[in-house]
């Protein structure tokens, strides 16, 4: 009962927040004082007046600006070689044997290892001016996911938990954040409440484990036991009605809701036709992307799928093609599949990694860590595709144009989701933190 009441007040708050325009453009404008206001003004500001004025003209194209509801975040763990994938250096010695392929946008080229994505180039905004100051895996992953550098005294939340904290769950039967394959450093709920914790699905084919009622127990017996447990806990719960205790019982309630929900069906990949399953690729990452689509379809807010194996210190030119093939097949199918369902409009697809790799090819035919210039990709959710943003130097070592730092990148994701970049959340020790630290969104990617 208490929980029910809690939920009701939450809902009321939601309406109030919506009414106040808490997630709205005005908050964003305050958040992005310089770049955003200058570039973003015509993109977002013009829309309401254009659409609402009676005698006004009809907007020229279907709304441009941020409009992501959910995120599918593809994480390339180990440090994806930008030079062999999205930031080619044709004609330079550093390119090695990697060749280019034409995309569906005239004049733009991708690596030969990404033929599927090349055909979806019109949907992609590829950032080739990513910059990180973290050159080790663990620290790099943490920074990429949380926008803060790793330290011993605190754990920062990832973007998924921030999203659910600020804009809630749409489907109360399923968790707001789900990780497939791996939970990366910096992507957890951190110092935020336990209820924003991501759910980890280790193997997409195996689905959600232990979500069925034990066969030896009838539904009646099960609910009796649960009712009894609640009764026994009542005095304790009343006496210690504090955050952490409540969080625990909330988790219990959520798990029960999930067990009884028809949305559990989302985890059963066998419901998909073989043709579609094959198209995503017969591997954990491909099936993970398919699962991600099924989850986002059911309103899960943030799904992260991890593909490892990018740490190519040796045999770069054998291993990158292998990995790129897995990525290419899964991501290009995901984009087509989302698009034909009309979901790409409101689903932001992110591809990123902790850092790039050196232009220099080492004596083991490999490339080493290089965080000073690398690539990431955005698609859907209001992103205008068919373009490269930013540049690295002629060998791909340093950024030369439109540098996008890790916090900038995360601010761009948050901006796509309409989240308040300037809102300060205090950790239990009283320290102030923001979704993307001091990052500034690259607003021009939306128009």
């Amino acid at each position: 009962m208490k929980n029910l009441l809690g939920e009701l007040t939450d809902r009321r708050q939601l309406v109030k927040q919506i009414a106040k325009g808490f997630l709205g453009v005005s908050a964003l404008n305050c958040a992005l004082p310089t770049k955003a206001q200058a570039i973003g003004a015509q993109a977002i500001g013009a829309q309401p007046t254009g659409a609402l004025s009676k005698h006004g003209k009809v907007a020229k194209s279907y709304y441009s600006g941020p409009r992501a509801k959910n995120v599918i975040y593809l994480y390339m763990s180990g440090g994806m070689s930008h030079i062999d994938t999205f930031d080619l250096k044709q004609g330079r010695e550093v390119q090695g044997p990697t060749q280019a392929t034409k995309t569906n946008i005239t004049g733009l080229y991708l690596s030969e290892h990404l033929p599927g994505l090349a055909k979806q180039m019109d949907k992609l905004a590829i950032i080739n001016s990513m910059f990180s100051n973290q050159g080790a895996h663990e620290e790099g992953r943490y920074f990429m996911h949380s926008s803060y550098t790793k330290r011993g005294t605190i754990v920062h939340p990832g973007l998924g938990p921030w999203l659910v904290k600020y804009s809630g769950r749409s489907n109360l039967n399923l968790p707001g954040v789900i990780h497939i394959g791996n939970t990366n450093p910096g992507s957890t709920q951190g110092f935020l409440e336990q209820r924003y914790a991501p759910l980890l699905i280790g193997d997409p084919e195996a689905g959600l484990q232990n979500s069925q009622r034990n066969k030896n127990l009838s539904a009646k017996e099960f609910s009796d036991i649960y009712a009894l447990t609640k009764q026994l806990n009542q005095t304790f719960a009343k006496r210690y009605s504090v955050g952490k205790v409540n969080a625990y019982s909330d988790m219990y309630d959520d798990a029960l809701k999930l067990m009884q929900s028809s949305d559990l069906d989302a985890f059963t990949l066998n419901r998909e036709p073989k043709k579609i399953r094959d198209a995503y690729g017969k591997n954990a990452f491909g099936q993970g992307c398919l699962l991600a689509r099924r989850l986002v379809e059911r309103d899960v807010r943030f799904v992260e799928v991890t593909l490892g194996g990018w740490d190519t210190h040796t045999n770069n030119f054998d291993r990158v093609p292998e990995n790129a093939h897995i990525l290419d097949q899964a991501m290009s199918t995901l984009l087509i599949d989302l698009n034909r369902r009309g979901m790409l409009e409101e689903t932001l697809v992110v591809l990123t990694t902790e850092f790039g790799r050196t232009p220099n090819i080492n004596k083991n035919e490999g490339r080493d860590h290089s965080p000073t210039a690398f690539s990431s990709v955005l698609a859907g959710g209001g992103i205008q595709g068919g373009r490269f943003y930013g540049k690295s130097d002629e060998d791909g070592k340093f950024v030369t144009e439109n540098k996008v730092t890790v916090p900038d990148f995360n601010a761009t994701i948050a901006y796509a989701l309409g989240l308040p970049l300037d809102k300060v959340e205090y950790s239990p020790s009283g320290r102030p933190f923001r979704i993307a630290d001091k990052g500034q969104a690259v607003v021009s990617l939306f128009g």
């Binding site: 309406v15 325009g21 709205g24 659409a51 600006g65 369902r341 009309g342 020790s429």
Partner: protein, 327 residues
């Protein structure tokens, strides 16, 4: 008699007021204007300059001149005027000493009264006392003073249409009712003036109850999302979409809606986005879809629309991007 007592009362009140002022005076001194050169810089000199001055600039930060203070360091600005809780230089110095980020990292930390002083200085706007000179030299205060008159004159030439994004009390109540009845409300494309209403988890037995509230919000609704819900043709007939002048998107994908429901979409002439994927839409709907002159995106994968239908749609609506699925 009466007069005397009133005088007494007056003098009594007066002395009370006087006492009250006396008590207040210490707090007045606490919020007295703090002078940067006199009050703040000596503290910084003692506690911060060791690592942040002309000789040494850890984290690219120099604190020995107002100019460098304003420039900040590697991590951006170190103070935000009027907001001590957003100001790095106050935050880091007020952390517990064991914290990894505590400042100063070497030597004695700031005392409680020094912290208080720093906080108040920021609260008062973090002024250095050189502000007037700055604006005169660098920004040209003359032009700045002129600006207001320019604005007012240009205002006269413009006819500004007043529009308030705030919801009326009635609209607010309708929103709350819609939420209570189980439909999901979001801002439409993060446009503060419009909403997207989703019926995905809605119990359609309550649909007739929710309709009057939708009507109250008719100017505010930018998107109606029926996708993956139990919506039927009957509900589309009841909705009267033509009454929603700002309705830009309708999503019906994966529902039992068929041609007899689609015909009611024809009145939604502002529609730009229409998703009919996995519905019973067939050739019979084409003539209704053609009426949607504003359409930009149309999703028809897994419908009974034929290739011939698509041809006639493309001919009538050449600017529409029609998606037919297929990998």
């Amino acid at each position: 008699m009466l007069k005397q007592s009133s005088i007494l009362l007056f003098s009594f009140l007066f002395s009370f007021l006087f006492l009250f002022l006396l008590v207040l005076s210490p707090s007045i001194t606490a919020s007295e204007k703090i002078d940067y050169m006199q009050d703040i810089q000596p503290v910084l000199k003692e506690k911060c300059f060791r690592c942040h001055d002309a000789k040494k600039q850890k984290s690219d930060l120099r604190m020995d001149t107002p100019k460098h203070m304003r420039a900040g360091g590697e991590g951006g600005p170190i103070f935000v005027p009027f907001q001590p809780e957003q100001s790095e230089m106050y935050l880091l110095t007020s952390l517990p000493e064991y914290d990894m980020d505590y400042m100063p990292s070497k030597g004695e930390g700031l005392t409680q009264s020094e912290l208080e002083l720093l906080k108040n200085w920021i609260l008062q706007g973090a002024l250095f006392g050189d502000e007037d000179n700055d604006t005169d030299e660098e920004n040209g205060s003359k032009t700045e003073h002129k600006t207001p008159s320019t604005i007012s004159s240009s205002q006269q030439n413009l006819t500004v249409k007043n529009f308030n994004y705030n919801l009326t009390e009635k609209e607010l109540q309708a929103l709350e009712k819609i939420n209570q009845l189980g439909a999901n409300i979001r801002q439409f494309n993060y446009d503060e003036s419009r909403y997207s209403i989703s019926f995905r988890y809605f119990d359609f037995n309550k649909y007739t109850q929710i309709l009057p509230h939708l009507k109250v919000l008719k100017n505010r609704i930018g998107k109606i999302d029926f996708s993956r819900s139990h919506v039927t043709d009957k509900h589309l007939a009841q909705t009267q979409l033509g009454n929603y002048p700002n309705l830009q998107a309708v999503d019906i994908h994966q529902t039992d809606v068929s041609d007899s429901g689609i015909q009611y979409l024809a009145s939604a002439t502002k529609l730009e986005y229409l998703n009919l994927h996995n519905t019973g839409t067939s050739s019979a709907s084409v003539k209704h879809l053609i009426a949607l002159k504003s359409l930009k995106k149309l999703y028809l994968w897994n419908t009974r629309v034929t290739a011939k239908d698509v041809d006639s749609l493309r001919e009538a609506l050449p600017l529409v991007a029609i998606d037919l699925g297929g990998l």
